[in-house]
């Protein structure tokens, strides 16, 4: 890291962060378990002599969280990090410097989110990037919308999983509002016990009854759920509401008003999440951030299932190459084995992009 990058790290340290030592060589499994097999193509994998897969760290958040769990550290606690990460990208070297911050265990999540975003903007400011454009989205707002629409839980999960994948989300909405086609969706719903019996026989016949995979109950339950889901059709007016929400793109300072207006127009209740988001925007203002260029987008998301709340990116001129990104990821520490859920929010900055476009 250059002297300049070190001074950026000092900004984070000054905001009450400790800096754990994070090795370059990391066990590969946690990354593949959390992000999925698709990540394998983008990371650099090797093995230790015992044949266990190791990789060059593709990012810092998972190692920092693993460090936090391994040291049984108390919360709340803030960590900062800086160093090279190794990951293939659409363009540019697969070896690039990042710094960032992880804020773990603060129960006032709104305060923590605001501090995190304020620290990001202060760091970018110190780096001389004063006019970055901040874009925010929120997974919990989208979840509240799906729940407010009264969608069956299975459909809520499906759509939430696609949050951040525009094309597939569109296809899912289209399917939700299209007429029923599949013959099984029209048939009579089988009795759960009979299905379990039928599936048990098939599992037994094929030697899978004790293989440790999906159980007969699990398969039968999903079969019934699937039939119910296939039958469910979204009223055209509700499909429009979903589409309108995903197209929302307003100045961040007007987001609260826009969301309340959206609730009024569509006649549905998104619960406390709207007030909470409006409050977050207020808190950002209180921290003296210039939000003139900042936007809120209803459809702005990431399709990783550990993100739970606010999501953000900061851009220079090129929206395809964010200077920084982050968000709230309350599910990650549980996925990594924490016995209780730990609220968490963080960001990382792509240092190699800071010099561009100024």
């Amino acid at each position: 890291m250059s002297m300049n990058d070190k001074s950026l790290l000092d900004v984070l340290k000054a905001s009450g962060c400790e800096m754990p030592e994070i090795g370059i060589l990391q066990p590969a499994d946690p990354f593949l378990e959390i992000a999925g097999e698709d990540l394998r193509r983008r990371i650099f994998i090797t093995e230790n002599p015992a044949g266990e897969p190791l990789c060059l760290r593709p990012e810092f958040t998972i190692p920092v969280c693993l460090h936090h769990l391994a040291t049984n550290a108390s919360t709340p606690r803030r960590y900062a990090y800086g160093g090279t990460v190794f990951r293939r990208r659409r363009a540019g070297s697969p070896e690039f410097p990042q710094i960032g911050l992880e804020d773990l265990g603060r129960t006032d999540t709104n305060e923590a989110d605001a501090d995190c975003i304020a620290d990001l903007m202060a760091t970018l400011d110190t780096a001389g990037r004063k006019n970055t454009k901040l874009v925010l989205g929120d997974r919990s707002l989208f979840a509240a919308l799906l729940s407010g629409l009264g969608l069956p839980p299975g459909w809520q999960e499906r759509l939430l999983r696609l949050f951040g994948e525009a094309d597939q989300k569109q296809a899912a909405i289209d399917k939700l509002s299209a007429p029923i086609e599949s013959p099984e969706a029209r048939g009579e719903e089988p009795a759960f016990d009979e299905l379990v019996e039928q599936v048990t026989q098939r599992l037994d016949k094929t030697g899978l009854l004790h293989s440790g995979g999906r159980t007969a109950e699990e398969i039968a339950r999903r079969m019934i759920n699937k039939m119910r889901l296939e039958r469910f059709r979204l009223a055209p007016s509700d499909a429009d509401i979903l589409r309108h929400y995903l197209e929302l793109d307003v100045p961040l300072v007007e987001a609260g008003e826009a969301l309340r207006g959206f609730e009024d127009r569509s006649g549905l209740q998104m619960g406390e999440s709207v007030a909470a988001f409006a409050q977050l925007v207020e808190k950002l203002g209180e921290r003296g951030l210039d939000l003139g260029a900042a936007r809120f987008r209803g459809g702005f998301g990431r399709n990783l299932d550990y993100y739970t709340g606010v999501l953000f990116e900061a851009y220079g001129d090129d929206e395809r190459a964010p200077l920084a990104g982050g968000g709230r990821y309350d599910r990650l520490l549980s996925l990594l084995g924490a016995p209780l859920s730990v609220p968490a929010v963080g960001f990382s900055i792509w240092l190699d992009r800071l010099g561009e476009g100024e």
């Binding site: 593949l32 378990e33 992000a35 999925g36 097999e37 698709d38 394998r40 193509r41 299975g154 999960e157 499906r158 999983r161 696609l162 994948e165 597939q168 299905l195 039928q198 599936v199 098939r202 599992l203 016949k205 094929t206 030697g207 899978l208 293989s211 440790g212 995979g213 999906r214 007969a216 699990e218 398969i219 999903r222 079969m223 699937k226 399709n303 299932d305 996925l335």
Partner: protein, 230 residues
């Protein structure tokens, strides 16, 4: 210069490859010893034949050490990174047919499509404390196909043989494997997904290397041979 053609060195593939070349008007001439790994192509100026294993043929074509070869489309798409910049599939040869498919337990009555698999993969971890596992030797084809259908939450378990047995042994939950009739799959209690269950319909192809050194005369000879297969 000389043009080099690589043909499969073993079994039915070898016989069928020699047969299609003969039908196309190019008899394969080898010395009397049937164990030899060299030969010549008849009705050509100077075309040497090398007999190699089918997967070696794909690699040698990509490296440019042979000009033409007969190999499976699955081997090209699976093993050669950025294959279309190194190889050209010139003709399907009508033998060695097999599909690369997604096979799930027959008892999974709720799973008939990739989107079903996506739902199952998403809820699997919370029930079983691990990701859904796919046994395969086709890493690349599996990753591409699953990504195309938005399935991300699974793990690949490498399988170098008897892949169909992986679900019953508990090594994996489902498989991606090659099958010609589907009978081995059925015998192991597996079924092919009805929707998007076939990743690739593969067969033996005549493949041209785009990276091999060749002069204008060589290229003319290569083109002449290929044109007899189209």
């Amino acid at each position: 210069m000389t043009v080099t053609l690589a043909l499969p060195s073993k079994g039915r593939l070898k016989g069928q490859a020699i047969e299609v070349f003969e039908k196309a008007g190019f008899p394969v001439v080898t010395s009397d010893d049937s164990r030899t790994y060299h030969g010549q192509l008849g009705n050509c100026e100077s075309v040497d034949i090398k007999f190699l294993s089918a997967s070696e043929i794909a690699r040698e074509l990509a490296k440019g050490t042979v000009h033409l070869g007969v190999t499976g489309e699955d081997l090209v798409r699976e093993n050669i990174a950025d294959w279309s910049s190194k190889l050209a599939l010139k003709a399907k040869l009508g033998f060695g047919g097999a599909d690369v498919v997604v096979g799930v337990p027959d008892a999974w009555i709720d799973v008939t499509s990739m989107s079903d698999l996506n739902d199952v993969a998403a809820e699997f971890r919370s029930r079983h404390g691990r990701r859904l596992r796919v046994a395969t030797k086709y890493w690349t084809l599996t990753q591409q196909h699953f990504a195309e259908h938005g399935v991300a939450l699974y793990r690949i378990v490498e399988s170098l043989g008897a892949t169909e047995g992986a679900p019953a042994s508990g090594a994996a939950d489902l498989i991606v494997d090659i099958t010609s009739t589907g009978s081995t799959l059925r015998a192991n209690g597996l079924k092919i997904l009805e929707e998007h269950g076939v990743i690739l319909e593969s067969q033996a192809n005549l493949v041209e290397s785009l990276t091999a050194d060749r002069g204008a005369e060589d290229q003319a000879e290569i083109d002449r041979i290929c044109s007899n297969f189209i």
